[in-house]
């Protein structure tokens, strides 16, 4: 029982991190209809940048976070402006290929500039896990994961609020619904495309800091981006609540599966179970748990 609870709790904590990264993907898909295959690489490059700031340039942590968030936001703006705006109106495949190219470029840039060896990304958070006792079920929780989950949930809440309640969010959803009509309403569609990429940049910066701390920074950090696809397919490609729920499900399922199956097969369960889940989800509910329903009036 304790073992199961431990797996579930850890799964949930990791899941919030998946949700955070998936949020970047969802924001871009929602606003621009583009599938961003470079989300993991954005996280990776943010990790490299932060590690370099802290270790090479000795920038204090608070300033590092601020600089990283700002820099990733600008990178998001830049990517939209330079690479994606000329592709507006082109077939979806052009945009997809462009983001795959972007992924490769980012993957090369990190090691090129800052070196390929794995870097530490230390955060001033105690490492020793502590015991939590809820209803006689004892669970081991590590502080960094708790902090990460808190940050992720806070950001998800903020972005969710912006999207659902603010005028900016209404305009973004209007753009997602129909670009031409949004233009007819005086909405500067391109500006909202840029905004979506900037938001994805912010999310990537936070993801890079946290995942970089957990896994260490090298090109393999980009692999967390692979978890984005099961998360968003499960939750719904264009849904923020979907990103949250999908992230939690993937986190728990892979955690539990790995906990029980890995001892027999010697590892690797974590990598394929989410995709198994994704394929099942595509068969049963192709638009995800919270995906945009197709409105049909009869």
């Amino acid at each position: 029982m304790d073992f199961f609870a431990l797996l579930v709790v850890n799964g949930l904590l990791v899941g919030t991190l998946y949700s955070l990264i998936a949020l970047g993907f969802v924001l871009i898909y929602k606003a621009t209809d583009a599938i961003n295959f470079a989300q993991g690489e954005l996280v990776m490059i943010a990790g490299f940048f932060v590690a370099a700031l802290i270790q090479l340039y000795r920038v204090p942590l608070a300033a590092t976070v601020a600089i990283a968030v700002l820099a990733m936001m600008l990178l998001g703006f830049g990517i939209e402006r330079v690479m994606l705006r000329p592709l507006i109106g082109r077939p979806v495949i052009a945009v997809i290929m462009a983001t795959i190219g972007l992924a490769a470029i980012l993957k090369g840039t990190g090691p090129l500039v800052w070196g390929a060896e794995t870097k530490n990304l230390p955060l001033p958070i105690p490492e020793a896990p502590f015991l939590v006792n809820v209803l006689d079920v004892v669970v081991l929780v590590s502080p960094i994961q708790l902090v990460a989950a808190g940050v992720s949930l806070a950001f998800l809440a903020v972005f969710g609020y912006i999207f659902l309640r603010s005028r900016m969010g209404i305009a973004m959803r209007a753009v997602a619904d129909s670009q031409q009509v949004a233009m007819a309403m005086g909405i500067n569609v391109e500006r909202y495309f840029a905004l979506a990429w900037a938001m994805a940049g912010i999310v990537s910066a936070l993801g890079g800091i946290i995942w970089g701390n957990l896994l260490g920074v090298d090109v393999h950090l980009a692999l967390v981006g692979l978890k984005v696809f099961p998360v968003v397919i499960l939750g719904g490609l264009d849904s923020i609540p979907g990103a949250v729920v999908g992230g939690l499900i993937v986190g728990v399922v892979e955690g539990v599966a790995a906990g029980y199956i890995d001892p027999y097969v010697g590892g690797g369960t974590k990598d394929f179970v989410p995709y198994l889940l994704m394929i099942l989800a595509l068969m049963v509910r192709p638009y995800g748990i919270f995906g945009k329903e197709i409105i049909e009036r009869v």
């Binding site: 233009m183 007819a184 309403m185 409105i295």
Partner: protein, 266 residues
């Protein structure tokens, strides 16, 4: 002095297809102007040329000039044109399906600065379309066809336009609803001093509320005049009002023999 003037406007799609071949028309301040014509005549393209919505369809104004209130607007992006007071209601009730009725309206007020203006705008729109108030929290995709058309017009009103470009507001609606919507357009014109450029297939309805009309065919204006004159015009009667010279309904057998349309092309 017309508020909107098109002067010999040419539009080319995909850099090869010439869709408008020199369209000139004028919309006076406070008027309702009807733009009539068959499918593919270039009516919607004319509206989109004015509102700046050609670009996403790979179209461009390649000749002539479009002036609004004395200023050239044919090179401005769509959002800048809305800010200057022109708003287009696109053909086919293109509402934001996944937003609620009220969110649709708020999105329509995107160019307005403050919440006060939005609240005022909502009150005005709900005043004209009380049914929208009842449906304010419903996802717009689930509204009925008539309600969606009302929402599309109401949403356009939220930007407080001087000139509204209406593309086929009667499309696919029951006759009673069409009448209701045309009445509201007339009231908006009178009470809100809204200038209207109206594209319609339903020429009878359009010419009842319009002051002046233009007839388009294959990218050109072929006929224009005040609404009363157009209603009496033999060609209009025959091709758009569906009446023969004696005023009875036309039979299919006559349709096969018409030759008159050719007169306009010379």
């Amino acid at each position: 002095m017309p508020v909107l003037a098109l002067n010999n406007v040419e539009v080319i799609y995909d850099q090869v297809i010439l869709v408008l071949k020199g369209v000139s028309l004028q919309v006076p301040e406070g008027g309702i102007i009807a733009l009539l014509g068959a499918n593919g005549a270039g009516k919607s393209t004319t509206l989109k040329a004015v509102s700046g919505l050609l670009r996403p369809e790979r179209g461009a104004v390649t000749g002539g000039a479009i002036e609004f209130a004395g200023e050239r607007i044919d090179t401005l992006p769509a959002h800048a044109i809305v800010r200057r007071g022109i708003v287009q209601v696109l053909e086919g009730r293109r509402i934001f399906e996944h937003l609620t009725t009220e969110e649709n309206l708020i999105a329509g007020a995107h160019t307005r600065g403050d919440w006060g203006a939005i609240v005022g705008g909502l009150d005005m729109v709900y005043g004209y379309f009380p049914r929208l108030r009842e449906r304010r929290d419903l996802k717009a995709g689930y509204l009925s066809g008539g309600e969606q058309q009302m929402l599309a017009i109401g949403r356009a009103l939220m930007s407080r336009p001087r000139l509204m470009l209406l593309d086929e507001p009667s499309l696919g609606l029951a006759p009673r609803l069409v009448e209701e919507i045309f009445e509201i357009i007339q009231r908006l014109n009178r009470e809100e001093k809204l200038t209207v450029l109206l594209v319609e297939q339903n020429a009878t309805m359009a010419l009842t509320i319009a002051h002046h009309g233009y007839v388009m065919e294959t990218g050109r204006i072929v006929l224009d005049g005040d609404a009363a004159t157009l209603r009496e015009n033999e060609d209009i009667k025959e091709f758009y009002l569906g009446l023969t010279e004696v005023g009875s309904r036309k039979s299919y057998r006559d349709v096969k023999h018409y030759k008159r349309r050719k007169r306009w092309l010379s």
